[in-house]
Amino acid sequence: MGLRAIAPGLVALTIWGIVTGVAMSRFGLPEQASIVMSLLVYAGSAQLTALPLIAAGAPLWLIFAAGIIVNLRFIIFGAALHPYFKDLSWGKRLVAGYLAVDIAFVVFMPRFHDAPQKGTLEQHWFFLGAVIPSWFLWQLTSLIGISLGSVVPVSWSIDFAATLALLALMLPLANSRPIVLSILAAAVVAWVAQTLPLRLGLMAAVLVGIMVGMWAERQQAPRGQR
């Protein structure tokens, strides 16, 4: 059942996996390292964010910080999923959390949001039916991408597809005024500050993005209250 629900998501996952695989080989990662990265990290946005940093030889703390920042959304996902898994052993919760990628969350939450009872067997099987195929498909498509990466000519700029994939990830999420303002502010800072050493522009853009977003939210609040 989870498998059927996630089927459209698997198409997106296929493209995303191939793009990430191609990006890994384009940014000069040896094949073996690309495979290890895909197996262990299993997070397209974190991989695509980190690749330009790794290629530029950015310091490890910055790669770690950037990885944490783009993965912060999973803390929110985890908080939302928590009621459904809280009765499982901590080992099972660890595995469930590790496998809880965006697409799984997106099909799981709307379906069980109003479920009177949280943490049923049905919900756990649905979750597994969604996340296990996702994991295998991700690894397969990443492998295809890694092998394509060395075949496709550089002049095709396939790595731009990775940038577009990040864009495709964020556009549906930019659905409120504060979020759009936060993105625009981050974009301006990222544009102006990109020559700063150590890619500090990234950290500056994130800080300004958070501040502008929270400011815009406060501006909106008085009108929202009755």
Partner: protein, 109 residues
């Protein structure tokens, strides 16, 4: 590429993923998330992704200042296609097609 650096980076990224994806499910009993932090966390990921996209489409050279890149037009076209169709796959497809077409046109003239 330095192997040790590379594998350290991969290990750290895997750690990031484990921390973010599992911390709440494993330790959530002890940490209620205050609404203020919850809302701040909403903005961080999109700002970070923006900061990765922007230097690729709007490069700024330390010597020459801001640079123009066809990728900027391709990205704008892709955003337009998304607003029109709401289809995320078309964002990737249309962006690539626009980039290739513009480059092809430039080569003709």
């Amino acid at each position: 590429m330095d192997t040790q650096y590379l594998y350290s980076a991969i290990g750290l990224l895997a750690l990031c993923v484990v921390i973010c994806r599992t911390s709440y499910l494993v330790f959530g009993h002890h940490f209620p998330l205050p609404p203020k932090i919850r809302s701040a966390l909403r903005y961080a990921p999109l700002a970070a992704i923006t900061a990765i996209i922007v230097p690729d489409v709007l490069p700024w050279s330390a010597q020459l200042g801001p640079q123009f890149d066809l990728k900027c037009l391709a990205a704008l076209a892709a955003i337009g296609v998304f607003l029109w169709t709401r289809n995320t796959l078309l964002v990737i497809v249309s962006g690539m097609i626009v980039l290739w077409s513009l480059r092809g046109l430039l080569m003709l003239f």
